[in-house]
């Protein structure tokens, strides 16, 4: 900024000096002319020049400041991306090392059984275990690829009726064995008018909503309530999946949208920790937003906002292939 001012000083003064000089020259050439007529053209030119210079200087200053701010934002984003990447690699390491250790132990058991003919663990049990762990890794890899694929693939832009979709989700969740022990309610508005259509890919929205409701069932106990609520405020449809389940500890809530993030309570349950990351990607690629609120021990509510079909200015970002909507959602696969 200092450089701008000091470098600009001669430029700032130049028009005024030129104006004054012009006035003096005119005075000398036309000594009989009236003073205001002589001075004012010079002054006018000088003032106009000064104003132009000031405006240009202001524009330059604003641009420089904006550039500094952008640079800072880029720097922050890069730092955040680097941190996210590191955390992701640590979680990946964590998710892989257990099944791989189990596989190596299983193979050792099989070898020993082959050597001696007897062993504590029969080859059959060891084989079943190795096979199960291989499937676990396959599942993990499949989920990560699914995520990477969803971030880039073209999203279909067809009208979607969320009411019928929510009922389909309900039916799918009912097929989960423990679902019958929860009180699951789906509330969609009928008055003053039904829920408006949104635009997008029905199959992907099914995955997102099924994930949320299945999560609510998974992290609650028999007798708990799971509510699926839908509402509308003109431009957006709001979908909420709420449960009276275990809730998420405060120190874990910030990470829940990250791929492979699994809370301490989830460690003992099957899953790869990809569900909410998947929900986030699907919703963002539909031009929507996600949010989560939770109280440890009381329950959780996940909210999704999706743009109503055909609303100007809030049209969903769909059918744009290979465009990342969220630079932090990147998965190195």
């Amino acid at each position: 900024m200092t450089r701008l001012v000091s470098g600009s000083l001669p430029r700032l003064l130049a028009p005024a000096l030129i104006g004054a000089a012009l006035g003096i020259v005119l005075q000398v050439i036309e000594p009989e002319a009236r003073l205001y007529a002589l001075v004012s053209p010079g002054l006018l030119a000088g003032t106009a020049g000064l104003l132009c210079t000031l405006v240009l200087a202001a524009v330059t200053l604003i641009r420089q400041r904006a550039a500094v701010a952008t640079q800072a934002a880029v720097h922050d984003a890069v730092a955040k991306a680097a941190e996210d990447r590191l955390r992701f690699l640590m979680r990946l390491d964590h998710e892989l090392k257990n099944p791989l250790t189990a596989i190596r132990a299983g193979l050792a058991n099989i070898e020993q059984a082959g050597d001696t003919g007897t062993a504590g663990t029969s080859p059959g049990t060891a084989l079943a275990s190795v096979s199960a762990q291989a499937n676990r890794i396959t599942q993990l890899l499949g989920d990560l690829r699914k995520l990477a694929d969803l971030e880039t693939r073209e999203i279909e832009a067809a009208p979607v009726d969320l009411v019928s979709l929510l009922h389909e989700v309900r039916e799918a969740v009912d097929a989960i064995p423990s679902a019958s022990e929860r009180v699951i309610q789906v509330n969609v508005p009928r008055a003053p008018w039904p829920l408006p259509l949104i635009e997008g890919d029905r199959d992907l929205l099914f995955i997102a909503l099924q994930n949320l409701v299945a999560n609510a069932v998974k992290f609650s106990a028999p007798g708990d309530t799971v509510e699926v609520r839908a509402s509308e405020d003109g431009s957006w449809v709001l979908l909420e999946v709420a449960d009276t389940g275990a809730g998420i500890p405060e120190d874990e809530i910030g990470e829940v949208w990250q791929e492979l993030a699994r809370g301490r309570a989830a460690r003992s349950l099957p899953g790869t920790g990809i569900g909410l990351a998947l929900v986030r990607v699907v919703v963002i690629r539909h031009g929507g937003q996600v949010a989560i609120r939770s109280r440890d021990g009381q329950g959780t509510v996940v909210s999704i906002r999706l743009p109503v079909q055909g609303r100007a200015g809030t049209a969903p970002v769909v059918a744009e292939p290979r465009q990342r909507r969220d630079p932090r959602g990147k998965v190195p696969v």
């Binding site: 690829r145 694929d149 067809a158 039916e171 099914f206 995955i207």
Partner: protein
């Protein structure tokens, strides 16, 4: 071709020795004679020399990759059935691109039993010495006609208006006629990844196709439901010459 072999001869092409050294004995035990190739050029050479009954082709290989090897095979008039091992996501629109002419696709990592089932299916479907349906640019089934290159279909003279996914599904049905296609398999064709249990993604697209074709699910002319399992394309499919 057209000869009967007691043990079908297949080529297994993958540059990763860990894959071939485990899969080859597995396929041998299943009653196949397996020849391993580690790059595309070796595949071309083996096909010329052995006139095999089938081929499993990995996409990523040195020197000549799987896609290019397949293109050359087809260009030279070799119509042996080929299962292409692809990456996730490539099994969808991009991979079913006609210029490759693979008979089926499978994503790594796969279940070896699934690979065997697919290989047997494509070998059973093979029409010795003739171009497979999956390598044909245009197909016909009764009054239904499909131009696979431009991805357009007509019923009698009326062009069908279909979503891209339904068109992709129709393409797969037409190139795999009279085969039981499970929902899981069709999901993989459409999406390339697993869906939650209970999804109706496939059924919805089938319903879209049936609406467009005016097909009756109870007395189907084209798409039959196999209860509890999936679907079967029941009409006879021919190349349009």
């Amino acid at each position: 071709m057209g000869r009967q072999r007691a043990r079908p001869v297949v080529i297994l092409a993958d540059d990763d020795n860990a894959i071939t050294s485990n899969l080859a004995p597995f396929l041998e035990r299943a009653g196949l004679t397996v020849h391993v190739a580690s790059d595309g050029e070796a595949v071309l050479e083996l096909v010329e020399r052995l006139d095999p009954d089938g081929c499993i082709l990995d996409v990523l290989m040195p020197r000549l990759d799987g896609r290019e090897a397949l293109r050359r095979l087809r260009a030279d008039g070799h119509w042996l059935p080929v299962v292409l091992l692809t990456q996730v996501g490539e099994s969808t629109e991009r991979a079913i691109a006609l210029d490759e002419g693979a008979d089926d696709y499978l994503n790594k990592p796969f279940d070896p039993y699934e690979l065997l089932a697919r290989l047997r299916a494509v070998m059973r479907r093979a029409r010795p010495g003739r171009r497979p349906l999956s390598a044909s640019p245009a197909l016909r089934a009764g009054d239904l006609r499909m131009d696979r290159i431009s991805r357009r279909a007509w019923l009698r003279d009326a062009e069908l208006v279909l979503t891209p996914k339904a068109m992709l599904l129709l393409d797969y049905l037409l190139t795999h006629p009279d085969e039981l296609l499970t929902r899981d398999r069709l999901l993989e064709v459409l999406w390339g990844f697993e869906f939650p249990v209970g999804t109706r993604a496939v059924d919805n697209r089938i319903a879209e196709l049936r609406r467009a074709l005016g097909d009756d699910a109870v007395r189907p002319e084209w798409i039959a439901t196999v209860p509890g399992q999936g679907y079967r394309f029941v009409a006879k499919v021919d190349e349009v010459r």
